[in-house]
Amino acid sequence: MGKFISRAKRTLMLPAFALVIFLSGCADLVVLDPQGPVAESQAELITFSIIMMLGIVAVVFVLFTYMLVKFRYRPEKEGNDNYDPTHHGNNKLEVIWTVIPLIIVTVLSIPTVTTIFELENPPEVSADTEPLVVHATTANYKWFFSYPEENIETVNYLHIPTDRAIEFKLSSADSMTALWIPALGGQKYNMAGMENTLYLQADNEGEYAGRNANYNGSGFAGHTFEVIAQNEDDYNAWVTEVQESAPELTEEAYVEMLTPGLAANSEYSSTHLDYVDHGTNEGREYIVDQHGGELGEKLHLQGGREIWDE
């Protein structure tokens, strides 16, 4: 009974707290508030499309309202209400409203296609520096960020320098997931046995929320990470510190972390790429070989982040 009451209390307290936040402001629309060139070109495309779409919506709504008001049946006006039960077409009009949407589609296609190809490469603005390569690997609800050149690895958070493109090498040890940092740009999938490349970049220092956006099971809601964008000096200082003070990531410790569950942030002075790269065909069965029967285990996360963070 006591347990029930404390649970009920918790259920009620958090919402009450949340209600305060409700009154103190609205959600900020992170996708429309880009913090880097990739997110920026996407936000521009989105804004452009919203304006076009609002135009279409306005036209249809106006016509719709006109039809409703003008042609609503009023018995008293019968006889001079312009009613024509056999009116059934008008070729000129029909051609017009086929051609106009075609033009709109063309107008939307051009920036879409150019942006699609633009995002396949690192942002123009930082073309003079080599992108920083980070392998982002997911395994049942954890993120592993390996920096092969720096020979360090972090779990569930990463540091990046500002004004330099980051070349994420995406792969997964098990289910398909997606790396998404809305403030910096759109997502791409991580898949087992293959590697995807995603370029992102931060213009401003700060902390950004990142997550797996693609549902992968019972720990999905907890499958998040933090991005800390720093200027180059701070970033380099952080790299050196991890290289010098963090332990090595032994295969044993790594395999241990591949069991289903959430994990705390941690950092290492070597990478798991030394023994397995899940983005290659050889690395693809690794997790099944190591953990065969345990991978079906389900987490039962309760409540919000503050509860399962402990």
């Binding site: 958090l14 249809v60 056999t86 008008n90 949407p101 589609v105 398909m176 999938y189 079906g296 409540g303």
Partner: protein
Amino acid sequence: MEAFLDFFFGEFLVTGQPLIYGAMVSIALGSITVIAVLTYFKAWGWLWREYITSVDHKKIGIMYIIAAIVMFVRGGIDAMMMRIQTSLPGMTFLDSQHYNEIFTTHGTIMIIFMAMPFLIGLMNFAVPLQIGARDVAFPFFNNLSFWSFAFGLALFNISFIIGGSPDAGWTNYAPMAGAELNPGPAINYYLLGLQLSGIGTLGTGINFIVTILKMRAPGITMMRLPIFTWSTLITALIIVFAFPILTVALALMTLDRIFGAKLFTLAGEGMPMMWANLFWLWGHPEVYIVILPAFGIFSEVISTFARKQLFGYKAMVYAMVIIALLSFLVWVHHFFTMGAGGGVNSFFSITTMLIAVPTGVKIFNWLGTMYRGRITFETPMLWALAFIPNFVIGGVTGVMLAMAAADYQYHNTYFLVAHFHYVLIAGTVFGCFSGLIFWYPKMFGHKLNEKLGKIFFWLFMIGFNVCFLPMYFLGFAGMPRRTYTIEPEWMPLSLTATAGAFMMAAGFAVFVYSIYYSFRYAERETQGDSWGVGRTLDWATATPIPFYNFATLPEFDSKDAYVGMKDKGETTYDKSKVEEIHMPSNSGLPFFMMLALFIASFGLVWEWFWMAIPGLIMFFIVMGIRSFDYNEGFHVSTKEIHEIEQAARGEDSK
């Protein structure tokens, strides 16, 4: 014995969740009530003779619709639970695993066991009437299709008390849904439940293609077909091309999970991405399967209550044909983020946006139909009118999603959830409500109460917008779909959405009440043209519709067949022309055939071959019995026809 009990309470029954105990109790009480009522009224025989074994397309249609409404309630309860859990941060109403099961069953049930059967029910009811046929081309097969669907539905739904619900989303992506990462019966329920009901859907597709091509009354040429019938024909064609893909995909994953194959697995060179491709090769056409018939209903209803011919009939038909073709060329837009490369994404962006063109043409043609009309606001018309602006919002956000570079930001977010509910609810669900209320008097002999219907409409329509409009902004705020808990900054919008969901639920409750209220108090229909403004042959029949539909039919020479008949003073009962009618007999075999497959599938779900194999054998035995069934149907005498028609049409028809 102990081992058995361990299994029974440990794995077989789902235990440990109070909500599920609640559901078990209510299911038990519900079943006892139904059984008691049927027994009390000695209605078992009636149910068996009049419905379960019926080959009458009208009754089969009604059974589909009843099942769909029940599934709307089930899927709706799932939806309310999700909305409660995500209304506030830190909610502990559902845990992550339970939430995942619920959005999976919600999505699957709403699409496969609610939207599709609702529309198939309306097609079954209306299409043979609209083309002047006495039944569908293959009535026995039609009953079989229904039972395949119904047993598939049952199999999928029992998962939540027996064995556990599937939890890999309605898309059931590999390798997450494979045996390595998700062992146990839950996903098998998804695979076999959909497989079983898919047989029926494919059957319906074939049945309606043949019916519409071969069973039209003299003079109803293809270009004079009512537009709902056209939409059914095109939908049936999509079904016949798309459903085999699903059948194969499900079978392959079943091989993986139950027979140890390695087609979509992590280990052993499986190709998980292949599942996503096969799924959406079926899945995108599937969304057109549930929208085109709704378009057809809106066309009928708008032209009926604007009292005008449909504007741009030919363009409407061609637009549907083009949509159907394009629907097979866009599937990659569901995974632009898979990294297929710029060329592929550009191609599928453009094909997807192109669908907006024929859809736009249809929207303007509906507006054109209203032009110079006399519009009145009966409830079917309210739903059809509300469809236009709401669907346009869903449509333009669909175009936004089609722009691949932008989709990288929308994908997997609430922006997407908002979009597909705007098209599925404002399109499909409004269409189902509109069609049901429209044809209700022909089904049950009385209308639904208009006043309650209007309360239902306004609550549901406004609630729908309050619920789903904020979700677009939640997407922009970075909220992913399928997450059981929300961040504090999403709360204002998320809580608003929940309030909207409660309005929708309240509206739906009014609808359910109006069914009861109208059954008790509504005026009974005395003539066939219930709304007084019918345009198609369905309204030319008497109410209640005789089981053979039409005693006689005139020769037709224009669209809007019934408008022409009214002008010339013709009816579907020309005393001088009445002849004996040949009708098919009812049959209980389809029920047993599908019961056998149900048993076999249930066995497969649990990998109990001692159950699966006999089930399959039983199926073949019943099929064998059917092969020796020489029942050729029966004849209705002219005397009986005169009696039925005169009873339905009143004194003056004598």
